[in-house]
């Protein structure tokens, strides 16, 4: 196995202060601004600066129980929108005008003096405005995710369902699908980076893929293999990045061609201590008669487990992410953060690439 000395080293950059007094469930970096949102079991969301690492504002009063998850809406300018999901079964949408030197805060007019009198302190302090609450789930919301275009919001819950909401107007959302095929808590939802294809991970050990087929959202694939709860699923970036040089150019070419046909891969991590990479098995294109009124072929997708990452974690793995530069990072109940790199394999075996576990760092308190 190649040495891990050339792999990136992790060191603590800063601790966000002041920190939440109780468990921080999730952190979400803003898509364009140097901001980070953290969700806490104290029912609040904290927004930190990623330049000074200090607290900028605290969103409170929207949820009655732990805020488990949040997600920034992509593709916005001048305003930030955050969706939050809570153990209180509700999903909140929050808005705030981006205020930095480049984007001065717009003047809000007309001013409602009565409202200002009542809310002036809270309102002026953090400038986050509660936009709408999305009710529907019956129990704890575990994960929320915006589609790449930002028009769809997926939410999932301990009630075993996945809901898809569409923004149909200003602060107006419509439920367009309630997907109930999982047999256990749905722990995580994640949208494909370029298709309206949703992946969900569950307590039932399965990963499911969902897409719309002639007006109806349905399950188009079940990825089985994990032996316990799948905690998190994440997609690869549009462009893969394999480290090192391929020994044989034809091998590399073949790999890239296949990758192009399959599209971004899916990453999953589980209570079974494994991290797996899944790849779509592209369908052969069947020429379709234009006269046929019956759809040829189903929308079922064929996905296969491509590889497993080296086993490093000793406790359940709760979270994985795939960087734009092609590296993978994972963390879990053992308090360590692990970085992996995919490299061209230099050997005569059939596999073209190999995943390498990088160095780990013990972080106390991470669970």
């Amino acid at each position: 196995m190649p040495s891990s000395s050339s792999l990136p080293k992790l060191s603590l950059l800063s601790t966000l202060t002041p920190s939440s007094p109780s468990r921080a469930w999730l952190t979400a970096p803003h898509p364009t601004l140097p901001l980070l949102a953290t969700c806490s079991s104290d029912k609040s969301v904290r927004i930190y600066s990623l330049t000074s690492f200090t607290l900028l504002s605290t969103i409170t009063g929207g949820h009655k129980r732990s805020v488990r998850t949040c997600a920034w809406k992509p593709n916005l300018k001048g305003e930030s929108v955050l969706a939050t999901g809570s153990f209180d079964a509700s999903v909140g949408i929050w808005r705030r005008y981006d205020t930095d030197d480049l984007n001065p805060k717009p003047v809000i007019a007309p001013v409602d003096f009565d409202a200002r009198d009542e809310n002036i302190d809270e309102y002026d302090e953090d400038e986050w405005r509660f936009a709408i609450v999305l009710d529907g789930h019956e129990s704890e919301v575990k994960s929320v995710a915006w589609s790449t275009a930002g028009n769809l919001l997926a939410t999932c819950s301990r009630d075993k369902s996945v809901w898809i909401w569409e923004e149909v107007g200003d602060d107006d959302y419509e439920t367009i699908a309630v997907l109930q095929e999982h047999e256990g808590d749905v722990k995580c939802v994640a949208w494909h980076p370029e298709e309206e294809l949703l992946a969900s991970a569950s307590y039932d050990d399965d990963i499911r893929l969902w897409r719309e087929d002639i007006d109806d959202w349905g399950c188009v694939g079940v990825l089985r293999g994990h032996d316990s709860t799948v905690w998190c699923v994440q997609w690869e970036a549009l462009t893969p990045n394999i480290y090192g040089e391929a020994e044989k150019l034809d091998v590399k070419e073949k790999w890239m061609k296949r990758r192009e046909a399959s599209g971004p891969r899916l990453l999953s991590c589980s209570d079974d201590l494994s991290i797996r990479v899944w790849r779509r098995n592209p369908k052969e294109k069947v020429p379709q008669s234009r006269l046929s009124i019956i759809r040829s072929g189903s929308s079922e997708e064929d996905w296969i487990e491509e590889t497993r990452l080296p086993v490093v974690h000793s406790r359940p793995i709760y979270s994985v992410a795939w960087s734009k530069s092609g590296r993978i990072v994972s963390t879990g109940g053992d308090g360590s953060i692990v970085v992996y790199e995919e490299r061209w394999r230099h050997s005569g075996t059939g596999t073209e690439t190999t995943m390498l576990g990088a160095r780990r760092d013990t972080i106390d308190g991470v669970e």
Partner: protein, 169 residues
């Protein structure tokens, strides 16, 4: 490597902050190794949710079913993790309160032990009809945390743990 402030360690899920949990998670960090007997002493006074008896007297928790294992014996690691496994023996194989009992044990231990401990509470093999289901629930940090935000359940747990508080000094 331990620059994370200690406030970040205060484990959650937990009952509302009480003076005893603050002291136990702050002070005696890895000075004295904690042994199985001490773990037993922490959990044996927990009351059964149905009877006015303790888990120790009902033999729901037993000293030989408590195991401490260093999990992360990495060189240079400031504070290696210790995995604590507690196997509980429900009084009857169909005990509907097995999950609640397990939860009580887990909460008690997570409150009392330093954060380097990872607590696994499971049903002893062959002693419960739905052990696998119960074990999965007890091992799921999200479900445990959510359960502790349930007022009714929290009341039951508080009652179970009443007898424990006097042990803290």
């Amino acid at each position: 490597a331990t620059t994370v402030p200690s406030s970040a360690y205060i484990p959650d899920p937990f009952l509302p902050p009480s003076s005893d949990s603050d002291e136990s998670s702050g002070d005696d960090d890895s000075v004295e190794p904690i042994d199985e007997q001490e773990i037993y002493d922490l959990i044996s006074p927990i009351s059964d949710p149905e009877h006015p008896l303790t888990l120790g007297s009902l033999s729901v928790v037993n000293l030989p079913d408590i195991h401490l294992t260093p999990t992360f014996p990495e060189k240079g690691s400031a504070s290696p993790l210790t995995t604590l496994t507690v196997l509980i023996t429900p009084t009857i194989t169909h005990c509907s309160l097995a999950t609640v009992i397990g939860l009580g044990v887990r909460v008690r231990l997570e409150q009392a032990l330093p954060p380097r401990f990872r607590v696994d509470v499971r049903i002893k093999e062959g002693t419960h009809s739905t052990a696998e289901q119960v074990n999965r629930q007890l091992g799921d940090k999200e479900r445990v945390a959510a359960a502790l935000e349930n007022g009714t359940l929290l009341g039951v747990l508080r009652k179970m743990l009443e007898g424990c508080e006097n042990l803290e000094t």
